[in-house]
């Protein structure tokens, strides 16, 4: 057998398993999914019978649905605040554990741990904390008595339940982002700091003039990472609030904290509008694709500047 033939044979043999799995699990379902979003696909109208092309109706109906509009809005708000809080907390933690304090290695591990546990489990833990532990604190401490009354439960009102989601989201993800900032901060040459200290720069001045600009590279990574992660949040949403409590929006009752991923799931499985859930998933994908394109463009621009 000549070398060229052997190479090409090995090439395809080595690629065959991943191509097979990838085609079965992603490529085919992806195109099927886009196709189904333009049809009346449901558990009764399957690919082998009764399936009809209905144009953009799933999309137009979705955009008319207050629950979807509300979910979109809540997701945007959640994403913005989650991004902000995660990055601020993570950067502060990174500054603290890269300073010369004692036990900094142990602190790093502690801040990182929530990230290792699945979002589903974290959500249940915090549900217990918000619904049982905080009210009990209210009963024990007279000054905090307000915490004890059932209507003050964080998860009892839509707005404060979103705050609760953001608290858990920040707690879950800040330690991971902190690790990225630590790597960036530790990459700053020590000489820069020493030189600045000799010149009499205060710690705040060194932070502004040295650490922040040097860590700027990491900001692009962490911003997009937290943006995408927050936008896709599902597990914590399911276990902490299940989308509740309900609220009124455009004159109809909707779930107050139902993020997009959960709305897609509920539309398909709870309401049994499979094709409409699919259309929403396509919209969800388009938003993420735009974010990814922006990210690529930003990275290209950065590389040119360097």
């Amino acid at each position: 057998m000549n070398i060229k033939k052997e190479n090409s044979l090995v090439f395809w043999l080595f690629l065959a398993p991943v191509l097979l799995a990838f085609t079965v699990v992603i490529i085919v379902p992806f195109f099927l999914g886009v196709f189904y979003s333009f049809t009346n696909w449901s558990s009764s109208a399957k690919a082998d019978g009764g399936l009809q092309f209905i144009g953009l109706r799933n999309y137009t109906e979705s955009f008319k649905d207050p629950a979807f509009a509300h979910s979109f809005g809540v997701t945007v708000i959640y994403t913005i605040f989650n991004m902000m809080f995660i990055n601020v907390v993570a950067f502060a933690l990174a500054l603290l554990v890269t300073s010369k304090i004692k036990l900094r290695k142990i602190y790093r591990v502690g801040f990182f741990v929530p990230n290792l546990i699945g979002g589903l489990i974290l959500g249940y833990i915090w549900q217990f904390l918000f619904n049982n532990a905080l009210p009990s604190l209210g009963k024990a401490v007279p000054a905090l008595a307000a915490l004890a009354s059932p209507e003050n439960l964080l998860l009892a009102r839509p707005t404060s339940a979103i705050v609760a989601l953001i608290i858990v989201g920040t707690w879950q993800y800040a330690g991971y982002i902190m690790m990225i900032y630590i790597a960036a901060i530790e990459n700053v040459p020590v000489e820069l700091h020493e030189a600045a200290m000799i010149d009499g720069a205060s710690p705040m001045e060194r932070l502004r003039a040295i650490t922040l600009p040097m860590a700027a590279q990491a900001f692009t990574v962490t911003m997009f990472l937290t943006l995408v992660q927050s936008f896709k949040q599902f597990d914590v949403n399911v276990s902490l609030t299940s989308g509740g409590p309900s609220t009124m929006f455009q004159g109809v009752p909707v779930l107050g904290t139902e993020l997009l991923a959960l709305n897609i799931y509920n539309t398909a499985f709870l309401s049994n509008f499979l094709a409409m859930g699919q259309a929403r998933a396509v919209v969800f994908f388009l938003v993420l694709a735009v974010i990814a394109l922006v990210q690529v463009a930003v990275n290209k621009k950065k590389e040119l500047e360097l």
Binding site: I27, K46, L120, I125, Y265
Partner: protein, 285 residues
């Protein structure tokens, strides 16, 4: 000088306070796993009367037919370890083939894998289910509610990022190494398995960590592919079945959560260095 000292003490105290606040929810799980149902709802913030209750609760969860913890632990372990093995072997050999074959086809395939990283699970999840059922209808291979189907899905969803990571590393391995092996009489396949695969260990670590944490904790994919009430269920599925019930038995739910966290924490303590490094490397690429 004094100001710097004060600043240092403030930093020490603030970090310690934050550290305790971060770990408080886990502490809450631990102390409440050692209480009776009544104590949990009445006094969630006090220390348990006796730690003996912890063992009683653990025994209840361990033997409960609602949660089936030992079986779930076995299922989760099988799914995670077989998927990880398959992902690291299959995507490293694929990445190597893609790097060492410089054709338009190989570039296009690599681009396809990279582009697919943008695809969220939500857009494929509904058609995936009906399509896996169709495959079963044609071939007779059961993919829904089975290990085979679950692992196939993890391989399909896991290879993109993994190929991307291996690809970047393999590019930096000098070709001369492989040419020397060819002269010594190695076939192409031998070159990969005997020479390249072992030197990929730093990337193996990253790939195993990133995929391992994702697969072990994943909830939605097993919920759809394995379904509820299946003999095969992962730990997150078991916890959600149990904790999602209407009557909240917090003493047992928290014990179940504690048991679900223990394997992860043990793994983390054993492989801490690799996990932190792997996750940071994975984010930057």
């Amino acid at each position: 000088m004094n100001r710097i000292k004060v600043g240092k003490i403030v930093a020490e105290v603030a970090t310690l306070a934050l550290f305790l606040a971060f770990l408080f929810p886990f502490f809450l799980v631990l102390i409440n796993s050692s209480k009776t149902a009544f104590e949990v709802t009445q006094y969630p913030l006090v220390m348990p009367k006796s730690w003996g209750t912890l063992f009683k609760n653990v025994a209840t969860i361990w033997t409960s037919s609602n949660i089936r913890y030992p079986a779930s632990l076995v299922s989760s372990s099988i799914i995670t370890s077989v998927s990880l093995l398959a992902i690291s072997l299959l995507s490293s050999q694929a990445a190597w083939a893609l790097v060492r074959t410089k054709t338009k086809t190989s570039n296009a395939i690599f681009f396809l894998f990279v582009a697919a990283m943008v695809i969220p699970f939500q857009i494929v999840m509904f058609p995936l289910l009906s399509w896996l059922r169709t495959i079963t209808g044609i071939t007779g291979i059961r993919l829904l509610r089975t290990y085979a189907g679950m692992i196939l899905c993890y391989v399909g969803f896991g290879v993109s990022l993994s190929i991307f990571m291996y690809h970047g590393f393999i590019k930096s391995i000098p070709v001369e190494l492989e040419e020397a092996a060819t002269i010594d009489g190695c076939t192409r396949a031998e070159i990969f398995y005997k020479i390249i695969f072992p030197i990929l260990s730093p990337i193996h670590a990253t790939v195993l960590v990133l995929n391992g944490i994702w697969i072990w904790n994943d909830f939605l994919l097993p919920l759809l592919v394995l379904g509820k009430g299946n003999a095969i269920q992962t730990i997150p599925l078991a916890v959600s079945n149990f904790a999602g019930a209407f009557v909240k038995q917090w003493d047992l739910i928290l014990t179940a959560i504690l048991l679900a966290m223990i394997p992860v924490v043990i793994c983390f303590l054993l492989a801490q260095k690799y996990i932190v490094k792997g996750m940071v490397a994975g984010s930057i690429k």
